[in-house]
Symmetry: none
């Protein structure tokens, strides 16, 4: 009974993350408490109201700085982007990313995050991966947050070399060198 509040608040955070388009009223019903309690919880947890949450999700897609490349084409969430220079994205490893047997992330998700970030950082309509050398340096488990950092390390007429390093906390979990084709020269 003592931890009831805590438990509820933890579940609340989870639930709102999963289905952010949920009203206080619906939440109150699900938890069997009053709307006021839900609102107190949100206040304590600094979770904004429904409309703000919707706006945030919508804004992700409408961020003017990111409009060079449609954001939905990047795996993970882009948190920083300087075209032709560097980019950073975050991918939270969830159940759907891992092998059910051992809860280790499937390689192709880490690859997808890195590869799509490499595409995003290139300021070009047509950016294609020609080849890549990649390394999975440490297994990533469910619940971990992978931060991928892409940086352009070489660039000539129509080829760009991009290095992507992905970390969980300070630990390197993936690194890759991507050789990309561009349509136009710089």
């Amino acid at each position: 009974m003592k931890y009831k509040k805590k438990d509820r608040q933890n579940k609340l955070v989870e639930m709102i993350e999963e289905t952010p388009f949920i009203t206080d009223e619906e939440l109150a019903k699900k938890f069997g408490v009053s709307i006021q309690t839900i609102r107190l919880d949100r206040l304590e947890l600094s979770i904004p109201e429904l409309r703000e949450r919707i706006k945030n999700v919508a804004n992700k897609n409408w961020n003017e700085e990111l409009r060079a490349l449609p954001v939905e084409e990047v795996i993970g969430e882009v948190v920083n982007l300087e075209l032709d220079n560097l980019a950073i994205s975050i991918l939270d490893i969830k159940e759907e990313h891992v092998f059910s047997r051992n809860k280790i992330a499937r390689g192709h998700h880490l690859f997808a995050q890195a590869n799509s970030l490499a595409v995003a950082v290139i300021n070009d309509e047509l950016a294609l991966t020609a080849n890549a050398e990649i390394n999975f340096t440490r297994p990533v488990k469910v619940g971990e947050r992978v931060v991928a950092k892409a940086s352009v390390i070489d660039q000539d007429k129509n080829r760009t070399i991009i290095e992507v390093k992905s970390y969980v906390q300070d630990e390197l979990v993936f690194e890759g060198k991507f050789y990309m084709f561009r349509s136009a020269e710089k």
Copy 2:
């Protein structure tokens, strides 16, 4: 004389398309008319209210995030599997696999097909990709069918090397060498 009704409505459509997060009040100011006029205009043009517009953008974003990568065990359909020897899978490239701009398949899908096939061919509970060298030899377009063939080319105590070649018809579109870890020895 300001804008005529028709003109204003045309401009209105444009403006809302450009900056969908604009209130009727702001629109009224921009056009120098009353809020009611703007609302009549929206009614005639069947443009939903601000909150609905935001919700639409948000929903689009949300759906696209959810379909980032398919969740199935193996990406593509396995048509042949001999454990510790070879495996073949087919992946039909659809709209959701390609860049909207040029209809070319995103590299990570080809990688995912190859990598998950490499995992599948290994007769082991725990098979992880350690590193890989990959080559995208030809862009794959929407509508094409990619056939991936994985074959074990070397195997020792707890490492397996797998070569995957992917074809569209007879054309090689992707090749990769995957260095995989296994938990148990053979």
